[in-house]
């Protein structure tokens, strides 16, 4: 654990990519394969299951520190992180643990079948055995909130260096269904023969286009298609089995039973990249429809009938069992068109937009909202399929969002990096003489603006309810959003999609904020 705690400290202490890679590589050199595997798992969000209720941890920590529960809660609001709050409030110890990371993870996993009293005994023992940083890491592990500020790409770089393997191979090996509980470091990283037939490829992600579209040069060098507003997915057919992966590296085959029929038309050794999209009567539906079936555990016949999905294909990564990501976009596109040539209700082709000039493409983009698309995707014909988010070959050129001017009426503390700052705001619009809250938003302000607003909130609080403050209805912000839907869960009757603060309207008094009717008109 000491090595892992040290890694944690080192990563925390540098904001520079090279420093982080160096810390990781040094760490990999020091620890056992077991610890390596668990570290990789933790850094790629494969945490062990939570075996203890976090409220209990808080209770035991305040007991041990001799503080009343309310003071623990106040502290938690300021710190914004339960694991850190507990660490800071526990009495100091002089102990240091010699046990490994794997030992402590096994320890945490072993708590599952125990009674609350037994769990308590074990957790208190652990707290007493660990020094401050180790305790923090332990608390992070046990609360299941472990994040270390290391991107997948960074870890891939460090692992590639450590094992002497190429980065894209490492990235691919880390994908899919492996677990430190059943696999070994050797199997995962070093063995050529991968037995996991469901393993997906890392997704290639586009950046948003900055600046004007004509800076991309000759339109002839680019493919354009609509940016469909669904769920990015990969369909894999191998050994007569079909797997569906979402971009969040989640295996979602069961959620889309419609795709089972694709086994009949797709040969083994095929991997398609595309968008899972609600489609009915040959028309795409809005994302709101898809949302109604995302969260469900079981899909009723009614849902399947009302919101059927299609797979809108735009790329192919494997064909006849061969990884073809290094083919050009143009070549891959030909293959996709060939595969999707038959009229099929579930497997569709993401059509190319025909355009000669950027002006023509801009015109097409302006129709996007009517087609339930989010804008235009641009892909360089010569480009290969890369890993992760990269600049240069793929761009998303989204349509401008809707906007509304709203008044801030509540504010709440943020968490993590934004702990102890009021960063989560609730906004209202006018309904007659009344301000009706209709959305929350938190991103979009600069750090300087956040501090300025935070300061204002603290000076203009009307009432406090725990971490929330109601404030004088004075500040007006422009809120941007991608869509709007009717909602029975909100008092205002509407729900916004991707609301965020676009700018602070210092020039507008609250009385000039928008009226709720204007929003309802967009429904």
């Amino acid at each position: 654990m000491r090595n892992f705690a040290q890694l944690f400290t080192d990563l925390d202490r540098t904001t520079k990519t090279l420093g982080k890679i160096k810390a990781l590589t040094e760490y990999f050199q020091k620890v056992s394969d077991h610890d390596k595997l668990w570290s990789i798992a933790l850094l790629s969000h494969r945490r062990p299951r939570r075996t203890i209720n976090t409220t209990l941890l808080g209770t035991w920590a305040s007991e041990l520190s001799g503080l009343p529960a309310w003071l623990f809660t106040e502290s938690y609001h300021v710190v914004g992180d339960l694991a850190e709050t507990i660490t800071l409030l526990l009495p100091e110890t002089a102990e240091q643990s010699d046990e490994s990371l794997t030992y402590w993870i096994d320890f945490i996993r072993s708590l599952e079948p125990l009674t609350i009293e037994e769990k308590k005994g074990k957790v208190l023992w652990a707290w007493n055995r660990l020094d401050q940083t180790e305790r923090f890491v332990f608390n992070k592990l046990i609360t299941g909130g472990f994040r270390m500020g290391v991107s997948q790409q960074l870890m891939v770089k460090a692992l590639a260096k450590h094992t002497g393997t190429r980065e894209n191979i490492v990235a691919h090996r880390l994908m899919g269904n492996w677990s430190p509980e059943t696999d070994t470091f050797q199997q995962l990283m070093l063995e050529e023969d991968q037995k996991d037939i469901s393993k997906p490829y890392p997704f290639y992600l586009a950046y948003a286009l900055e600046g004007e579209v004509y800076t991309l040069g000759d339109p002839q060098e680019w493919f354009a298609e609509h940016k469909w507003d669904g769920i990015r997915g990969q369909i894999i057919v191998r050994d007569r089995q079909l797997f569906v992966w979402s971009r969040g590296e989640e295996l979602v085959t069961d959620k889309y039973p419609e795709f089972a029929t694709l086994l009949d038309i797709l040969p083994d050794g095929t991997v398609l990249d595309g968008e899972i999209l609600p489609f009915k009567d040959d028309q795409p539906l809005s994302f709101n429809h898809l949302q109604t079936r995302i969260g469900r555990k079981t899909l009723s016949a009614k849902v399947l009938k009302e919101v059927p999905v299609s797979f809108v294909t735009y790329d192919i990564l494997e064909w006849e069992g061969i990884d073809i990501r290094n083919w050009t976009m143009e070549a891959r596109r030909r293959k996709v068109e060939e595969i999707c040539s038959a009229e099929h209700p579930v497997l569709r082709l993401s059509a190319l937009v025909n355009f000669e000039t950027w002006e023509e493409l801009a015109q097409e983009r302006s129709r996007a909202r009517d087609l339930f698309s989010e804008g235009i995707m641009l892909k360089r014909k010569e480009s290969i399929y890369r890993n992760g988010r990269r600049r240069g070959d793929w761009w998303k050129w989204k349509i401008d969002p809707f906007t509304v001017d709203a008044v801030m009426i509540y504010a709440m503390h943020g968490a993590g990096r934004r702990a102890n700052l009021y960063t989560d705001y609730t906004f209202a619009a006018w309904d007659g003489e009344q301000l009706v809250p209709f959305t929350k938003a938190y991103s979009g302000l600069t750090d300087d603006e956040i501090r300025e607003v935070d300061r204002w909130i603290k000076q203009n609080t009307i009432e406090r309810f725990g971490p929330v403050r109601s404030v004088k209805p004075e500040l007006v912000f422009e809120i941007a959003f991608e869509g709007i839907a009717q909602s029975t869960r909100h008092k205002s009757g509407i729900a916004l999609r991707f609301p965020r603060i676009r700018r602070w309207r210092k020039d507008k008094p609250a009385s000039e904020a928008d009226r709720i009717e204007n929003l309802r008109k967009l429904l």
Binding site: L71, S75, R418, A419, N420
Partner: protein
């Protein structure tokens, strides 16, 4: 009528017609220390400790200022005032007010641990204790300063060996000199920002010994910064001034740095939790040791600390002031006037950048 009252202009003694650290212009002000949220511009008469006077005179550009030595009583309309070391920065004082056996102490800002620079905190017994609570939460627990300076020295050495300049940000009055006084000067050269240097000069003139420092001039060349430690105000972070030290490692010295969220938010390479305010433990010790029957809690986590005291059988009240404790949390460098705010927002009217309260 009490001996001290809390008014819109500041803490007021009606008997003597005197204000303690007022935030609006008054005829007569008794000042605890030179930070701009306590020593404000625009009063007619100022009274402060003899060692705090040079900085206050310099910052507020005052011609005359009354002073008193620590412990020396000053009588105003029969009320006895005296200054007692607060351990916060050089010259900082708790203000003791006594009349007919009634004793009040106003702490201004303070800390109990000696910092090697400021006059060490003196415990003053009283019946009524007005205390700050900037870090009045149990999560704030300072390590002994030697541990922090060991970390700073190690960081400086490491940067040196890796060919980087060490830039450390701390506010200009107090923290910068505390850093200067306690780092291991044998490691290398120390460079200070102009705003820090101005305060250093005032302090040196009044006889406070500080290690040798260098200023950046237009003739300075890259190699002049080799292996150096640079001390600058938080407002210099991200400014063009700091770019000349590239490649550098950035450290920030502030009590706020004891929380990970604050450290990450600042994007500094290192956060050193070094504070000139009392932490939770010291705050409780101070309250207990004064023997006060009533405690008035000003800027900081005043509501929380006050409730804690009440639950522990000490009569306690929250006092709303305009000292910058909570307001200035996390605020970097410059004081900005939030839009659409009323007149009760403290805005520093002097031209000194308001970077000297604990406000990272």
């Amino acid at each position: 009528m009490g001996l001290l009252e809390f008014t819109e202009r500041g803490i007021y003694c009606p008997k003597a017609d005197v204000y303690l650290d007022p935030w609006k212009p008054v005829d007569r002000a008794v000042i605890s220390h030179g930070h701009s949220d306590h020593a404000r511009w625009g009063h007619k008469n100022y009274l402060c400790s003899a060692t705090a006077a040079p900085v206050i005179r310099h910052r507020l550009q005052l011609d005359t200022i009354e002073t008193a030595n620590y412990g020396e009583p000053v009588y105003i309309h029969g009320v006895q005032f005296s200054f007692h070391p607060a351990g916060h920065i050089p010259g900082s004082a708790q203000i003791r007010v006594e009349h007919k056996g009634e004793v009040w102490v106003f702490t201004g800002d303070y800390k109990l641990e000696p910092d090697g620079l400021s006059e060490p905190f003196e415990l003053v017994r009283c019946q009524n204790f007005i205390t700050e609570s900037t870090f009045g939460l149990p999560v704030y627990h300072w390590k002994p300063q030697q541990e922090i300076f060991d970390e700073i020295n190690a960081w400086w050495r490491k940067n040196q060996s890796e060919g980087r300049v060490s830039v450390i940000a701390g506010y200009t009055l107090g923290k910068s000199q505390r850093l200067l006084k306690n780092v291991d000067v044998s490691i290398g050269k120390i460079i200070v920002h102009g705003a820090v240097d101005a305060v250093n000069q005032v302090m040196r003139q009044q006889g406070i010994a500080l290690p040798e420092t260098h200023r950046v001039t237009k003739d300075s060349r890259k190699q002049d910064f080799d292996g150096a430690l640079v001390i600058c105000p938080p407002s210099a972070v991200g400014s063009p001034w700091i770019r000349r030290f590239l490649p550098y490692s950035l450290g920030i010295a502030s009590g706020w740095m004891s929380l990970r969220g604050a450290r990450r938010r600042r994007g500094a390479d290192r956060g050193f939790p070094l504070s000139d305010h009392v932490d939770w433990k010291s705050l409780n010790i101070a309250v207990r040791e004064t023997g006060a029957e009533k405690v008035f809690v000003t800027h900081g986590y005043s509501e929380v600390f006050s409730q804690w005291l009440s639950e522990n059988g000490i009569e306690s009240h929250v006092v709303k002031t305009e000292y910058e404790g909570e307001l200035s949390e996390m605020v970097e460098g410059t004081a900005t006037t939030p839009a659409g705010t009323g007149e009760n927002i403290p805005v520093t009217t002097n031209d000194t950048p308001n970077d000297d309260t604990e406000q990272l």
